[in-house]
Symmetry: D3
Subunit: 159 residues, 6 copies
């Protein structure tokens, strides 16, 4: 069985992430969408909230599990018996950083393969931080995140 | 009448910005050079100072107005009846970020067009933050900003 | 009056080109879409055919003229009293070549400004040569060119 | 069963290709390494020779098949019931072209996913045409291709 | 005599840095490896520690001196009678920033030449901050830094 | 003695090349500017003409020799006892190809170091082929090549 991990901050999950989740779960037997906990960053949403939003979004996708991890991604992949790490590439994106991480991860465990998939070009500009920024400035985000996440984001920013 | 907006932090305005202002005001009927107020960043110069410096620099350019805005750039463009957003591209510059913002702005209002103009290659390395850094370290900045702005920058850093 | 030139091979014109034509004619008062005649290349369609296809596509766009030119683009712009050259940028595209040409053109006549506009991200992969290649291999091209041009392309390749 | 296609010219197959073949066959259940026949190009080796060399190289890899195709890659993938196209990315490589092809292929059949895998950084400079060029100039190629292919290449160039 | 400066944060020095030091000292008569003191950043290791680690690493390299500097790099090069600044380029790296700094430095003193050398592709992913991050997460770093520096890094992070 | 080779087609030599020659001869003790003879390309100028033009341009530069070579650049460098290969980088240029060649050359002889120097940003758009193209179309090339070479180019194109 081919098991893959799609790691990220998902703060919050966007249609760009959902697009990659759909592609990855069609390409591999099982997909773990996993929230990376980074003690050095202050996310907008708590870990619990981010996992809840992912669970809503992945609801009904039978070969997808939502999880979280701390520490080294590669060690986490080993524990989960996953052979593959999924990264989304946008035509407009940070290849250099992605490549640097993929090569670093390969030195830690050569058996874990990083695989890049291309986001739908409609979402080539989309990132969680752009969604946060537009929402903060009162702009429209309905084409960027699901209605539920839009509502949650508005509530969060009104606190 | 073709009205364009050239947004930026202008902290402070450099010869690279002035080059784009000259090009844009020749290309469009009216140009609004507008200081973006970002509540999450701490600029070196206050908003009032940055607008004052721009006004000095644009003094005598009859089709140029200096202004400032908060919130979404696209909403601001709509209010000003501007059809065009100007962005300067340096041969050495951050395309990815520029493209991401342009595509995001297009989803908010498809009627507002982002147009890229190339900076003179003499200024292809120039940015406000590099000017600040060189000035802080006591380096020469006379070819990078106007004499008035050089004086202001020295005063500001001596405070 | 702001007059702009959109030069290209248009061999054949694609939806990506049409997208830029629409954007440019909204941004400037008059637009000349002009077929560049390159004696060193052998196009698939003749000059007359390429101009005819552009005329069909631009039919009803009152501020657009279709033309052709040989020789230096900048000299042609001067003759036409155009101040602006339009180039389409795709998120996936050849910046380096575009920048090289724009800088070269600037040294020939600094009064002619090159302005870059972003293609709709749906067409970020699209080029005339990719359309030709897919058509040659019998692939579907209905989302890439207009129905009339699709028919012409099929006829041309069957000759 | 997850079936993937790794298309290419393989003129000749290099250690960089072999690296991707190894990674892809670990990541998917079945891998078809398929020589793309391009009637517009004149390869150094014939189709038969290129397939023979691939067969030697893939000998003993039980989940790998060597094949060839003409026409549209996506149509070929459909015929082979493959869901995935593999492309190797080198840190030093042509992303733009790769992305353009991947997006084009997606418009032809959205069910076929293109997946990018990173070549070992030891081979980040390696391509068949560089191998041909070095061999032609009498340079050492033992770290670039297998001994058998090195011998074949020398023979071919001496003809 | 050709004297070159290789500036950096070296927080800590990695095998990637050592690779460039070896290349640069073979290419120029004398090499000064110099720790840049940046009052706006908080390094993991103190200046004294970073110089000590460099001295260990460069021990026995007769044409290499370890030093540190504050202020403008170009002014420092002038004081040291160095004609050349060395920068390492990784296939995976930030060209834009490197180019911007090189062009800026050239405007300050055109007599000081910036020269780029390529890191061994084995280290194309390597940076001090990635080493810090992996060490913090308890990952293996033995192929990334020397055993002594590995020990120092573990001690530092356990404090 | 530090000896460097600056290889190229020089068809014809431009101010961009001259800029790199000046930088390289200041940085190394001896510089060999060497015309690469490529049997697969048809240059505009003959080898003799290209060497003659280089000799005119380098006349009076006491530490510069003009030469030519066929075959592997690295083998040629070994024969000439040169430790360094110089490549010019333009902010607008083909890094990928340059890196690929540099890495390939390193595998052939690790003792030969490729060193990159930045062209003056005034020439960041300049290449021999652009000069040829502009001259062919009757455009101005006086800022791109020396007056002698301009005359030779006009003569050559009138033949």
């Amino acid at each position: 069985m081919r098991k893959a991990i799609y790691p990220g901050s998902f703060d919050p999950v966007t249609y760009g992430h959902i697009d990659i989740i759909e592609r990855a779960r069609r390409t591999f037997d099982h997909l773990i969408v996993s929230v990376a906990v980074n003690p050095h960053k202050t996310p907008l949403f708590t870990l619990a909230e981010r996992m809840e939003m992912l669970q809503e979004v992945c609801c009904g996708m039978d070969n997808v599990t939502v999880d979280s991890f701390t520490g080294l991604l590669v060690r986490y992949a080993e524990q989960k018996d996953a052979q593959v790490i999924i990264r989304g590439l946008r035509a407009v994106s940070d290849f250099e950083y992605e490549f640097q991480m993929a090569l670093m991860n390969r030195t830690i465990d050569p058996a874990i393969e990083t695989v890049f998939m291309m986001t739908n070009s409609d979402y080539s500009f989309l990132s969680s931080s752009i969604v946060q920024e537009v929402a903060r400035l009162g702009g429209p985000i309905q084409g960027l995140v699901t209605p539920t996440i839009e509502r949650r984001l508005r509530e969060k920013l009104n606190q």
